[in-house]
Structures are given as structure tokens and as C-alpha cells.
């Protein structure tokens, strides 16, 4: 049986964690509670950055080859999803994150960090066992003034890993 995977989100000035996230919408507020429909991104603006880590639990011998990818980097007209794997935390903002679309469709490698947070250099293989946080994927939706109102085509985030 594979180890179990959930996603933890980080928000605020101190990277407050919310475990077992049930959605990953990009929105105009840095929290894990407000519905995206209550904090929409208006045309010409950017979403707050969103950090989420995969978290493994369960039994395994070794974990390796962690990566994230998205099904799209253009979920709507005049809209771009950018992102990268992060090893340190900066409070989310609506300014450009500096990330690009590079490798988002093909996969961005991440390391396994430790038992409490995904922020840190980590290691590409992990043998300690038990709970381990993976470096988080940081995403941002960037729009131009040509963006149309309404919901986008839904995007999928795929997390991949190898275990023995």
C-alpha cells in the first residue's frame, strides 16, 4: 500500500498551517477559509500566492522523486498560472511572485524536508519514516485587463513520487 498523501497550506506572516486542504483556489485573499467567489481576482490583477505542500504519512522504506505539475498554465483568456517549488517562505502578496510557467506542465522536482514543515532545503530521498513534508508548490494566477469575468476552466495539480 502506498503512503497516504494530503496537502497542507501556509498563510499569513508566520506560515500558519492548515492541514488536509480540500481546495486550492487562487483568490484575492491570503487565507484557507474564504470562498474564492467572495474574493475574486479582478481583470488586470494577480491572486495572492498560494503555498501548498504534499505531506506523506504511513509506512514506507524510502520516498524519492517528488514533483508537482499542473494541467494548464492558461486557465482562461488573458490569464496565466505561474509557479515554482519553494524552500523558504515569504508572506503571500498580490505582487508578481517572480515565478514563471517553466516546467509547470512537465513537472517541477521537490525535496522531502522534515516532519513539521516543507520549508527547507530537504533531501531528494527520504528514509527516516513517518510523516514528512515536501517542499511546497507556490502558485499565482496573473491576469491582464483583457481577462473575462467568471469561473475558469478547472485546473488539476498532479503530485508524483516514488516509494519503496
Amino acid at each position: 500500500m502506498a503512503s497516504s498523501v494530503t496537502f497542507t497550506e501556509y498563510n499569513g506572516s508566520g506560515a500558519t498551517q492548515t492541514a488536509s486542504r480540500s481546495e486550492m483556489n487562487l483568490k484575492n485573499i491570503d487565507d484557507s477559509t474564504t470562498a474564492y467567489s467572495s474574493s475574486p481576482i479582478t481583470a488586470g490583477n494577480y491572486s495572492f500566492w498560494k503555498y501548498q505542500s504534499a505531506v506523506h504519512t504511513g509506512t514506507y522504506n524510502q520516498l524519492s522523486s517528488a514533483s508537482y505539475k499542473t494541467s494548464s498554465t492558461a486557465p482562461g483568456t488573458a490569464q496565466t498560472i505561474v509557479g515554482s517549488v519553494q524552500t523558504s517562505y515569504t508572506q503571500p502578496a498580490t505582487t508578481a511572485s517572480g515565478d514563471t510557467t517553466t516546467n509547470l506542465l512537465s513537472g517541477i522536482s521537490a525535496n522531502f524536508n522534515n516532519t513539521t514543515t516543507g520549508f527547507g532545503t530537504g533531501t531528494s530521498t527520504y528514509t527516516t519514516g513517518g510523516t514528512v513534508y515536501v517542499n511546497p508548490l507556490r502558485l499565482q494566477l496573473q491576469t491582464t485587463s483583457s481577462a473575462l469575468p467568471g469561473d475558469n476552466t478547472s485546473t488539476t495539480i498532479t503530485y508524483a513520487w516514488t516509494e519503496s
Binding site: 500500500m1 486550492m24 483556489n25 474564492y36 509506512t59 522504506n61 519514516g129 495539480i157 516509494e163 519503496s164
Partner: protein, 118 residues
């Protein structure tokens, strides 16, 4: 789906369980950890056969014929999708299995891996 079995000299078979793959010796580890670290060999003798049971096939390694100090290799690559909007998580997909062994070849002075990927 893909169950690993290790048979030892006294006939004992250690079998990986799909739903509860837990080490008999070390908390937090799995059955493969026990096999890799030779933990059952104290009580049951040397490993003699390693088998990967697949739904319609099986792969076997006669461990008595592999080079000394060989180590088993068995890995699984997975993917899991999450819908950004709904949070709906797909079942974990098994993408690839690697099965075989590795050993250090003193003549070549390097580690040699014999792995079949499925």
C-alpha cells in the same frame, strides 16, 4: 495489485499486504524494509526466493543465484491529482514498478543494477 513475497530457507514466506503493509520489526517501516535489511533471516535463514505477484503474471528471482551481497530493488512510482477548484482528489495511480536487485561488482568497481520496470 503488485504484492511482494520473500521466501526464506526454512520455507517461511513474508508477504507484503496491500492494505496493511507494516514492518514486523520496525515501527513506521514496511515489509520491503524488513526484506531489504534481512530482518527475517535471523529466525528463518537466508532469503532464497523473491517474487513480485502481479494481477496476471509474476516475476521471480532465485536469490541463491544472484551475486553475494545483492540487495533487492522494488519501487513504485505514483501520481495523485487534485482538482484546484473542488479539492477532489483522485485515487492514487500506480504508474510504474521496478523489481530486481543490485550488487557491487568488484571487477568493474561499480554498483550494478538489474531491474525490470513494468
Amino acid at each position: 495489485m503488485a504484492q511482494l513475497e520473500a521466501q526464506y530457507k526454512d520455507g517461511y514466506i513474508l508477504s507484503e499486504k496491500e492494505q496493511n503493509d507494516v514492518s514486523l520489526f520496525v515501527e513506521g517501516k514496511n515489509t520491503f524494509y524488513d526484506i531489504l535489511n534481512k530482518l527475517p533471516e535471523v529466525e528463518h535463514g537466508l532469503l532464497v526466493k523473491l517474487k513480485l505477484q502481479l494481477p496476471n503474471d509474476k516475476l521471480e528471482i532465485d536469490w541463491t543465484t544472484v551475486p553475494d551481497n545483492s540487495k533487492p530493488i522494488r519501487y513504485k512510482s505514483y501520481e495523485q491529482d487534485t482538482n484546484v477548484e473542488t479539492g477532489q482528489v483522485s485515487p492514487i495511480r500506480l504508474m510504474k514498478i521496478g523489481f530486481g536487485y543490485e550488487y557491487f561488482d568488484k571487477k568493474l568497481n561499480k554498483n550494478v543494477q538489474k531491474v525490470q520496470e513494468i
